[in-house]
Amino acid sequence: MRRVTKIAASGIATAALALSVSACGSTSNEKDKATDGSSSSAGKNGVKVGVAYDVGGRGDHSFNDSAARGMDKAKAEFGGELKELTAKTTDTEADRVQRLTDLADAGYNPIVGIGYAYANSMKQVATKYPKLTFGIVDSVVDAKNVDNIVFTEEQGSYLAGVAAALKTKSHHVGFIGGVDVPLIKKFEAGFNQGVKDTDKSIKVDNQYLSHGSDTSGFASPDKGKAAAQGMLDKGADVIYSAAGSSGNGSIEAVNGKKGTWAIGVDSDQYNIASLAKYKSSILTSVVKNVDIGVYELVKSVHDGKPKVGTNTYALADGGVSLVTSGGFIDDIQVKIDAAKKKIIDGTVKVKTTP
């Protein structure tokens, strides 16, 4: 039995190898070109946008979705074609390079990588295709044809800190971060500085839901809820969470205790349908307009003047902002505007690391 299976198996293996060797010669891109010669002419009217999403992809109700909003807007306006690919958790550098290369070979322009994970792979691919325009969100790639779309998350978070400091009655506020990556630490740093600059005596609890490469903290409402509940029990009464969909759990917990406030992130969470029943507890949200960044990139390519280099979307130009939906911060708006002015004119420099 054993010998026979072994012989059979090695036979199959040899056959497979022989097949590999015999098929060598034409790469997939050559094959693609052979089969569909028409695709390049189809893209003449409108822009052919290629998007490589981060893990989760379209439909994550968070970061990827805000990019998708920008893409949809661009598509509605300029027509053309939108090709969306999504990352997997088992991705290696080679997968990301291949994903971007596939898009480049198929003639998509611009090609946008959503998330810092694409930084190294984009550098390789962008150098190989100097005629195409690339875009990356949340990172900086050193290549001539890349639009680096970065945000000053710490500035928006600073204003959230000011609002929290002005609204707290217990002199105790909290910050919940999804994962302790540098990006989320910018939120933490800004928030803490905003609180302390307003009132030094206020206590701030900082907590992260997961660590390192475990990104579950961005997608676990139960963890967000437990963390927020813990902070509420210790006496915090304003809680800011920068934790993707985990933040929904935190908002739910805050809604369960009277007189406490939640601060949302990324989107204007007061106006999100699935959070409608908690909206009376959502003080404000720090909005990061990824959609504007990617939309502007597509528009610039459409207009024939591709945007490249590092484009920082800051508080000054509305790249990040503190929204007023619900009107809960109207009474302190004057002080928030004053803080905003100080950041814009450079009197206050917000730290990016806690």
């Binding site: 039995m1 026979v4 299976t5 072994k6 059979a8 198996a9 090695s10 199959i12 293996a13 497979a16 097949l19 590999s20 098929a23 060598c24 010669g25 034409s26 790469t27 997939s28 891109n29 050559e30 094959k31 089969t35 992809g57 090709k83 690919l85 999504t86 958790t89 088992t90 991705d91 290696t92 550098e93 080679a94 997968d95 291949q98 994903r99 596939d102 198929a106 810092y116 994970a117 930084a119 190294n120 949340d138 990172s139 900086v140 050193d142 680096n148 970065v150 302790d180 990556v181 540098p182 990006l183 910018k186 997961s210 660590h211 390192g212 490469s213 475990d214 990016t352 690391t353």
Partner: protein, 375 residues
């Protein structure tokens, strides 16, 4: 006599081939139905997979992926052969790759010294991390399933803690990506540039050697015999003088050392540093591949190649407008089909054997009766 064995072998050969063929056919049918249900044409999808998967650059990609997956499959299979369910391969390889990257980034020795040193570090760290579960099992009777799952989470936290700017990590220019210090170019593993098809990672040589070692140690040594004996029956093994506890601890450690190699192709041939985006979850892929390959070194190789092929071609399916979730569906269906098909074929074979033995016994009885009558 010779004729008799030839017949048996033929039947067994058919049975042995029946299982994988049955599994693949069943998986194809189910997948076709799923694609149909999404309103797309399954045959167009399959033909696209075949043509894209056989392109030269796809083959390089598949071989590179399979190198990693093969090591993962072997690491898991070592545990399986001994009835140990090492779920912790995932944490073990990440710990191992992280520390190997730290050691590699800190030193700048000649490659010929540094590469083996990094590989040794990885195997040692993997072995130690798995060893914790092994020791817990033999001294306190803690189920290795539970302890290794927990150790996975602890590994994530330990790496997260150590890989901070100022500890063992460093920030990139944009301030968003933390990684260990990149390896010096001298300690990159050799690779073969095949031109437009891409770069073939040299680490497949090590993977092949690991497979050979696995086959030799388990199939041709006293230790391997003891290990399989414990796997089949602990009481029988201990009755024949094998120290079961020692075997459990040892095989857990060997499984961990093998797991330590999993991250090495990526680290030494591709990323050259350990960062936030180091691939995650390959340990679990290894479980599926060990199941597919029936713990056999050649079977695992085929499983790993199949897995690489599926990942490569379904990536392209997404590009062609099919749903990206189709990959998960196909992989799940194949594993299920393989497990079920082998069981069905095994039972069928057993039934055939019983029937044949029954028939022979009946014939014998009939003959002896006839003899009595004639006498």
């Amino acid at each position: 006599m010779k004729k008799f064995t030839a017949r048996i072998d033929k039947e067994r050969l058919i049975l042995a081939l029946a299982a994988p063929v049955l599994a693949v056919v069943a998986a194809l049918v189910v997948t076709a139905l799923v694609i149909l249900a999404t309103g797309k044409d399954p045959f167009a999808a399959f033909s696209d997979m075949l043509s894209y998967g056989s392109a030269s650059d796809s083959q390089i990609y598949i071989l590179n992926k399979a190198t990693t997956y093969y090591l993962a499959g072997i690491a898991v299979a070592i545990g399986f052969r001994m009835n140990l369910f090492n779920i912790g391969v995932d944490g073990q390889y990440r710990m191992a790759a992280f520390f190997a990257a730290v050691v590699g980034g800190a030193l700048s020795l000649p490659g010929i010294v540094q590469i083996p040193l990094m590989i040794a570090t990885a195997m040692l760290v993997g072995a130690m991390w798995a060893g914790i579960a092994g020791i817990l099992k033999v001294t306190r009777g803690v189920s290795e399933v539970i302890s290794t799952i927990m150790l996975n989470a602890i590994a994530t936290a330990v790496i997260g803690y150590l890989m901070q700017p100022g500890r063992l990590g460093q920030l990139d220019d944009a301030g968003t990506l933390v990684s260990t210090k990149p390896l010096p170019k001298s300690s990159w593993f050799f690779s073969i540039d095949t031109g437009p098809a891409g770069v073939l990672w040299g680490f497949f040589v090590i993977a092949a050697l690991a497979g050979l070692a696995y086959w030799f140690v388990l199939g041709r040594t006293r230790f391997g015999f003891d290990l399989r004996a414990v796997g089949q029956s602990e009481s029988a093994a201990s009755a024949s003088g094998v120290s079961v506890k020692k075997m459990i601890a040892t095989s857990m450690i060997i499984s961990g050392a093998m797991a330590g190699l999993i991250g090495m192709p990526t680290l030494l041939n591709d990323s050259h540093m350990y960062s936030n985006d180091f691939p995650l979850g390959i340990g679990f892929t290894g479980i599926a591949i060990a199941l597919l390959g029936r713990n056999h070194p050649v079977g695992i190789a085929l499983g790993a190649l199949l897995w690489g092929f599926l990942e490569r071609t379904t990536n392209h399916l997404e590009f062609m407008g099919y749903d990206k979730e189709i990959l998960g569906v196909i992989q799940g269906v194949i594993v299920l089909c393989v497990v079920i098909a082998y069981e069905v074929v095994r039972r069928y074979g057993l039934k055939r054997q019983q029937q044949r033995v029954g028939a022979e016994l009946a014939a014998q009885a009939a003959r002896s009766i006839k003899k009595e009558v004639t006498a």
